[in-house]
């Protein structure tokens, strides 16, 4: 019942601001703001009850208990008793802004021609005004890594905040990583060639790996030289050799993970991150010891094998975290862009099947920021970091209580309106008028 009342309040609040709500990016925050009385979820596993979180000039300048905060230092105080404050959630390996409507090819900018195209950059195709992107904010998803899809080495990702006028405005870290799909152990039978359509061994696995190795060896050699004539693909991976970029490797099977780790060891200073990681549990200690994070496949999928525990996809993150691996959540899969707003519920599912709620939260806040290398300014409620955070009526990882009245990116007070809320109000008002 309590929830219901809250809901009602939120609805009313939303209605009242409906008139001046726009999907326009919020202006720079001129006030200094203190949020008091809420339960603060720091993002590192800790909680502060009856907290105070202060920020000014886009940065957090106070994290503590309500009692210890100096309210007078702030031009605006938001009383949030009974509510919760969270650092903005970070979605990894998304395709947000790269496709607007799946079935309309004209809106699809996700997959460029070519097997090895690290020089292709997601950022410049990122549509900051996507109607899909704006639906992230009301669920607490405020930052995202945007990565291309494709065949072998698919391109360069960037990290964006989700309330921006254009892609330059959106970027919080440009060209953060190179993405690749580790060759598959399996392939589907080609029915049109008369083969059994089942899944069988990929006989080209080794030769495909060799192709990757050859590319990196050639790129390393090129970079050491005078780099003339220019080679865009080699140039694009320079950051992998000087440690300014990470290599994100999509790989699910244990053997792929082992082969990819062995490959990574051959390149000095190469930092890799796995995406997927179905078979990561048996190699968890190696991942931990080598500091290789895993962005695990989202839990909302059917077990990859018929014989698996029916809850297997729900358990993966918990099992890896237990082994000390740094873990975040991959949002890719079917209906991935529109479902990226369910990121908090993916974390909630992992919490249900094997970890503490705050630990689950850490996967999509501080640990996500660490993996991306943005934890110096994002990922948790800590002084000096960006004031990218939101207030929630209840537990944000649960759809029952993920009700967000207010959210901030770098201190800017966001509109939580969307194309969808506009339609909601338009038609609710229509029927209210009929009564």
């Amino acid at each position: 019942m309590k929830i219901f009342k809250h809901t009602l309040k939120v609805c009313l609040a939303l209605f009242s601001i409906a008139l001046n709500a726009q999907q326009t990016p919020a202006p720079i925050q001129s006030e200094s703001i203190l949020i008091t009385g809420a339960t603060a979820h720091i993002g590192n596993g800790e909680i502060i009850e009856n907290s105070a979180i202060g920020f000014a000039d886009g940065k957090i300048n106070f994290v503590g208990t309500a009692g210890s905060a100096d309210k007078s230092a702030y031009s605006k105080v938001i009383a949030a008793e009974g509510k919760h404050v969270y650092p903005g959630f970070i979605a990894l390996n998304t395709t947000l802004g790269l496709v607007e409507i799946d079935a309309v090819k004209a809106t699809d900018d996700i997959d460029e021609v070519g097997a090895i195209i690290p020089n292709v950059r997601s950022l410049i195709a990122y549509n900051a005004e996507s109607k899909v992107v704006e639906t992230m904010r009301p669920n607490g998803v405020l930052m995202a890594q945007v990565a291309p899809r494709g065949s072998l080495i698919t391109g360069t990702s960037s990290i964006v905040q989700l309330d921006a006028w254009n892609w330059e405005d959106a970027a919080i870290k440009t060209d953060d990583g190179i993405h690749m799909n580790w060759p598959s152990l399996y392939r589907r039978g080609r029915a049109w060639r008369g083969e059994d359509p089942g899944i069988k061994k990929n006989d080209e696995y080794e030769s495909q790996i060799q192709k990757v190795k050859d590319f990196f060896a050639a790129a390393a050699t090129y970079i050491k030289g005078d780099q003339s004539p220019r080679n865009l693909a080699y140039e694009a991976v320079q950051g992998l050799f000087d440690g300014t970029q990470k290599l994100y490797i999509n790989a699910a099977q244990e053997k792929q993970l082992i082969d990819a780790m062995n490959f990574a060891k051959t390149i000095d200073g190469l930092k890799i991150v796995f995406i997927g990681g179905d078979g990561a549990v048996p190699v968890a200690s190696q991942l931990r010891d080598n500091g290789i994070p895993v962005i695990v496949s989202r839990p909302h999928r059917i077990p990859s094998l018929e014989d698996m525990n029916v809850k297997e996809p729900y358990k993966l993150a918990g099992e890896l975290v237990k082994e000390g691996v740094t873990v975040s959540i991959d949002v890719s899969g079917s209906m991935e862009r529109m479902s990226t707003r369910n990121l908090p519920f993916y974390a909630g599912t992992f919490a249900t099947y094997g970890m503490d709620k705050e630990r689950a939260l850490q996967m999509i806040t501080l640990d996500a920021a660490k993996i991306l290398g943005i934890d110096d300014f994002a990922g948790s409620l800590a002084t000096g970091k960006d004031a990218t955070l939101f207030i929630c009526e209840g537990d944000a990882l649960d759809m029952r209580s993920n009700q967000i009245p207010q959210a901030f990116i770098q201190g800017r007070d966001l509109s939580l309106e969307t194309h969808q809320t506009t339609l909601w109000k338009r038609y609710s008002n229509k029927y209210a008028g009929q009564k």
């Binding site: 009602l8 409507i101 069988k200 759809m399």
Partner: protein, 1002 residues
């Protein structure tokens, strides 16, 4: 029917032996030979179980004259003393394409080519896949090579047909008498009528595009044939005429697997036809249902090879289901036999006919009774095709089709010497050849060796030892001559001693040879011991066969759950009734029903489940599912009201169990959205382990899927799909009006006819039965409800107006993503809405889909359900309902109703399920937490008082699955080490069906 078979038998008999007498001969004198042949001293197996010891078989002119111990042998008889050898009737294979011309697949097609909706042929049925007029005889040419393989495997007669199409026309019976002529060999030019569920490869006509479409088509053909026979058609239809002409023939249906067997049998029952079912080898997995089909089966023996499991990453791909199939499939014939199912064995589906014998032996070693095996190859097939008087046994007057063997026909060490077909001898192995197997002292010049000869009598192998050291050797034995090579010690491997000798007696033989230096040498071999008696049961010890579960795969159950009286104690009960949520309440389940709800109920004899801190809800109902079905779309036509998902329910889909793990108990399996008028639904309860028929909800209301928008106008089907009507929303409306108008007229025609008196009916023409229009007429008569896939407001509005025009109501708009834009109109029409919680933006027409849709429609007074259309999402519909709390502020009680009582209302089953109310089915879920919460785990899922899913049990099963896998992997490795063949591991891709999934699945 019996009479006709008898006639066939008579006709055939009449020609036996005389068929060539009237043919002019220009290459010599007539050389007629009507002498007798007698085989004496034989163990004659006249028919399975009827054995004559030391008997005589007398034949003449290709026919058996007599068989017995006191057969009088006329003067002009060529007598062969068989010295105790055995004579068996030769085998009959009912399922071959022997001598048939190759089916030439049509070129082109696929998504890139322009689709073909109309038939290629004129003068025949409107569907190219109905090749009922096809005659095997017109595609036949005797194939001596193939005949030899079959003869070597023991066959004398085969039934052969063109293996193409849904109705395949007639087969013919051919004797494998390669030295004869077709005049002698063709026993019958129309022996049986053949059918299957598979499309013809010779046409691209798009209908049927699914298993259920094939089933509907077969039914419609039967109705049309009846109507045609009654003179209903003014036009000529040669395919229907063939159906009518073939009516009395035996019917062989290639079903190809347990569930398809049952599907074919179901059609047979509807039209009072006893199909002989060509099975798939997995019948043991549903043996009770197979028994109940009362059908005869043709069973292949293509048992799977073990999987190559040495690479663990590849081995993990192989499912427990496939591993078990390797382990259990050889038991299939034994299980059929022990359950009294009549069946024949066939060489069909084998990679090599030569493997037939070893596979039958394998079946025997897995428990198939030898006599049953013999019946399956002789008397049973003969009876099924009505030729028992002429074939399948050695009774008087039958064809002299028999086998001469060294012993028991299925024994490992038995040699098949001769296969006689129509009185002509086909030698497989020379029975007069001396069996030289044994141990010998081999003397070559001054040297003595030990020679052992082993292996099969016709293909012996040698091993030579010199001073106890084995030396390289090779033996050939052909035409009574031995040729032996060997390399003496110290001669490396490039120099050989070559010996040769004729053999007339195995005890000693001698001859000449050439030494390594080219010198001639005399040699001799004298037997010191005869061949080793191989223990007959040596390789016949029955291997361990793991138990079958239902379904026979991971998480299958050995025993179906028992109904139990249960008392849930002290639960938070979400009633989905006016009572809302009741804290600290007990719910008593008795005899599968909810018996009482209240505080401190007494258990009586019921099992008490402590539900303190837990939540009890009604079972979740998914209004829109595509799991548990072998097909989703029949997109071959723009209307497919004739098809029904009930035909293709797949009780073996793992998603049933996975859905139970999310608290789902009842689903509507909907047809997809490939066409405006889709197919009929199946309403099932997820009783994991039961068979398809038992999954269906009893006394269920009738539903059909309609669809609107991008899918039906083929917007996203590729550039080639532009010719099917409709391609616009304007056309969709016209299509509905047209079909409903026709259905109205059809209904009126039938109502008028049914209203006639008996006498009037005799004079009147009976209208044609049209399954499609009949189904649509049910809608007009308010006997069938529409669940319509719908997106944008214009089309939603349109369909309600069409329904108004024809004076019925749309029952449910499913998906209904813009329902919120026309909620007032929907309310007025009285239609319900079943929607997604938050999907959108996957195609243009869902650009305005909003997660507040459910809330707005609910607020407008519409009955709203949250559905899945997705095997993954359906496991957490409780959470999807929870999202309506977030989006639009629906109360928790109302949110829960959206996945329980509301879909029950939309499906018209709210009188029995969907809420916790005394008297309703005990379809219940016990949750660890508030069921709308992400943190809730379904602890137990109960259907009609039986627990079909238990969280802890699932975890325990996961463990036992892994143990069983391990065991099977070890068994496969040891099979490989014993030299058995292996196959590369492969994974089954589980099909994931959505509305727009279009694949042909058999």
């Amino acid at each position: 029917m019996k009479f006709k078979r008898y006639l066939l038998a008579l006709l055939c008999c009449g020609f036996i032996g005389y068929s060539q007498e009237y043919i002019p001969k220009n290459d010599g004198v007539s050389n007629s030979d009507h002498s007798y042949k007698a085989f004496t001293n034989a163990r004659i197996i006249v028919s399975p179980g009827k054995i004559i010891e030391k008997g005589t078989l007398l034949i003449k002119d290709g026919v058996i004259i007599d068989a017995g111990t006191t057969v009088s042998i006329p003067e002009n008889t060529l007598v062969t003393d068989l010295n105790g050898k055995s004579i068996y009737p030769s085998f009959i294979d009912l399922y071959t394409s022997f001598g048939m011309e190759e089916v030439k697949p049509v070129q082109g097609g696929g998504r890139s080519g322009t689709p073909q909706y109309d038939a290629s042929r004129e003068g025949y049925y409107w569907n190219d896949h109905i090749l009922s007029d096809q005659k095997a005889i017109e595609h036949y040419s005797y194939d001596k090579g193939q005949a030899k393989q079959l003869v070597n495997a023991g066959f004398g007669i085969v039934n052969t047909h063109m293996n193409d199409g849904i109705m395949r026309g007639t087969s013919m019976l051919v004797a494998l008498n390669s030295d004869g002529t077709d005049n002698e060999r063709i026993i019958s030019k129309s022996a049986a009528e053949h059918l299957s569920f598979s499309r013809s490869r010779t046409t691209r006509q798009s209908y049927p595009g699914s298993l259920m479409g094939a089933m509907a088509l077969i039914r419609q053909v039967y109705f049309d044939a009846q109507w045609y026979a009654d003179g209903g058609s003014k036009d000529k239809d040669l395919a229907l005429e063939a159906v009518i002409a073939n009516k009395s023939l035996p019917k062989i249906f290639e079903a190809g697997g347990k569930l398809n067997d049952l599907r074919a049998d179901k059609i047979g029952d509807e039209f009072k036809l006893n199909y002989i079912l060509k099975g798939g080898g997995d019948e043991f997995e549903r043996i009770d249902e197979i028994v109940a089909s009362n059908a005869s089966y043709i069973i292949p023996v293509n048992f799977p090879d073990a999987y190559e499991v040495t690479d663990p990453y590849m081995a993990q791909l192989v499912s427990l289901e496939d591993m078990r199939m390797w382990n259990q499939a050889p038991e299939n014939p034994a299980v059929l036999a022990s359950h009294g199912v009549p069946f024949t064995l066939t060489t069909a589906d084998l990679k090599k006919i030569a493997d037939f014998k070893s596979n039958v032996q394998k079946a025997i070693s897995y428990g198939l009774d030898e006599q049953k095996a013999l019946e399956a190859l002789t008397t049973t097939p003969a009876q099924l095709l009505g030729i028992a008087d002429m074939a399948g046994s050695l009774k008087k007057g039958a064809w002299a089709n028999f086998l001469i063997t060294s012993g028991d026909i299925f024994d490992n060490s038995t040699t098949l010497f001769e296969n006689w077909v129509q009185g002509k001898k086909y030698m497989i192995s020379d029975m007069n050849a001396v069996d030289i197997r044994g141990t010998y002292d081999l003397k070559v010049g001054g040297t003595t060796y030990t020679l052992s000869i082993t292996g099969e009598p016709g293909k012996p192998k040698s091993e030579i030892k010199q001073n106890d050291n084995k030396i390289a050797s090779k033996l050939d034995y052909d035409g009574g001559w031995v040729n032996l090579f060997y390399t003496p010690e110290s001669k490396g491997d490039t120099e050989f001693v070559r010996l040769t000798a004729p053999v007339t007696d195995a005890s000693a033989f001698s001859g000449q040879g050439t030494l390594t230096d080219g010198a001639t040498v005399n040699w001799s071999a004298s037997q010191t011991a005869g061949p080793e008696e191989k223990s007959k049961k040596d390789s016949n010890t029955k291997p361990e066969v793991l138990p079958v579960t239902y379904p026979n795969k991971a998480f299958g159950v050995s025993n179906l759950p028992e109904s139990q009286d249960v008392l849930f104690k002290n639960a938070t009960v979400w009633t989905s009734e006016e009572d809302g949520i009741l804290e600290g309440t007990d719910v008593l389940v008795k005899n599968g029903k909810i018996a009482a709800i209240g505080k401190n109920l007494s258990a009586g004899g019921a099992v008490i489940i402590d539900a303190t801190g837990k939540h009890l809800t009604p079972g979740i109902i998914d209004e829109h599912s595509h799991i548990a079905t072998a097909a989703v779309n029949e997109g071959g036509h723009n209307s497919s009201a004739e098809v029904t998902i009930e035909d293709v329910v797949d009780s073996e889909d793992s998603n049933i169990y996975r859905n139970l793990s999310g608290g789902v108990t009842t689903i509507q399996i909907l047809h997809g959205s490939a066409n405006p008028i889709g197919g009929r639904s199946a309403l099932i309860k997820l009783k994991w382990g039961e068979d398809p028929e038992d999954l269906l909800v009893k006394d269920r209301p009738k539903f059909i899927k309609f669809a609107l928008g991008e899918n039906v106008k083929q917007s996203n089907w590729g550039a080639a799909e532009t010719i099917r009507f409709p391609q616009t929303r304007m056309g969709v409306e016209q299509l509905f009006i047209d079909y409903f108008q026709r259905a109205k007229e059809y209904d009126a025609e039938w109502k008028a006819y049914n209203g006639l008196s008996k006498r009037q009916k005799e004079k009147a023409t009976k209208p044609r039965v049209d399954i499609e229009l009949q189904t649509l007429a049910e809608i007009l008569n308010k006997e069938r409800f529409i669940s319509c896939h719908s997106y944008v407001q214009s089309e939603i509005n349109m369909l309600m107006k069409v329904a108004d025009q024809f004076n019925f109501n749309i029952n449910t708009f499913t998906h209904i993503l813009e329902g919120y834009k026309v909620a007032d109109k929907m309310k007025e029409h009285g239609v319900g809405g079943s929607t997604f919680s938050d999907w959108w933006a996957y195609k243009y027409e869902v650009n305005d889909a909003i997660p507040y849709n459910a809330a707005i429609m609910h607020n407008a007074g519409i009955t709203v359900a949250i559905n899945s259309d997705d095997a993954e999402m359906s496991r957490r519909l409780n959470q999807e309902a929870g999202k309506t709390v977030k989006y639009g502020g629906v109360s928790e009680v109302e949110a829960m109703k959206m996945v329980t009582i509301n879909p029950a209302k939309l499906l018209h089953i709210d009188d029995r399920t969907g809420s916790i109310k005394v008297g309703k089915d005990a379809d219940l879920v016990l949750w660890s937490d508030n069921p709308l919460s992400i943190y809730a785990i379904a602890d137990k899922t109960m259907i009609e008082g039986k627990v079909y899913y238990d969280y802890e049990q699932m975890q325990a099963m996961t463990k036992s699955i892994s143990e069983e896998r391990n065991k099977l992997i070890n068994m496969m490795i040891s099979a490989k080490n014993k030299g058995m063949k292996t196959q590369a591991p492969k994974g089954n891709e589980e099909p994931e069906f959505h509305c727009d999934t279009e694949i042909y699945q058999k």
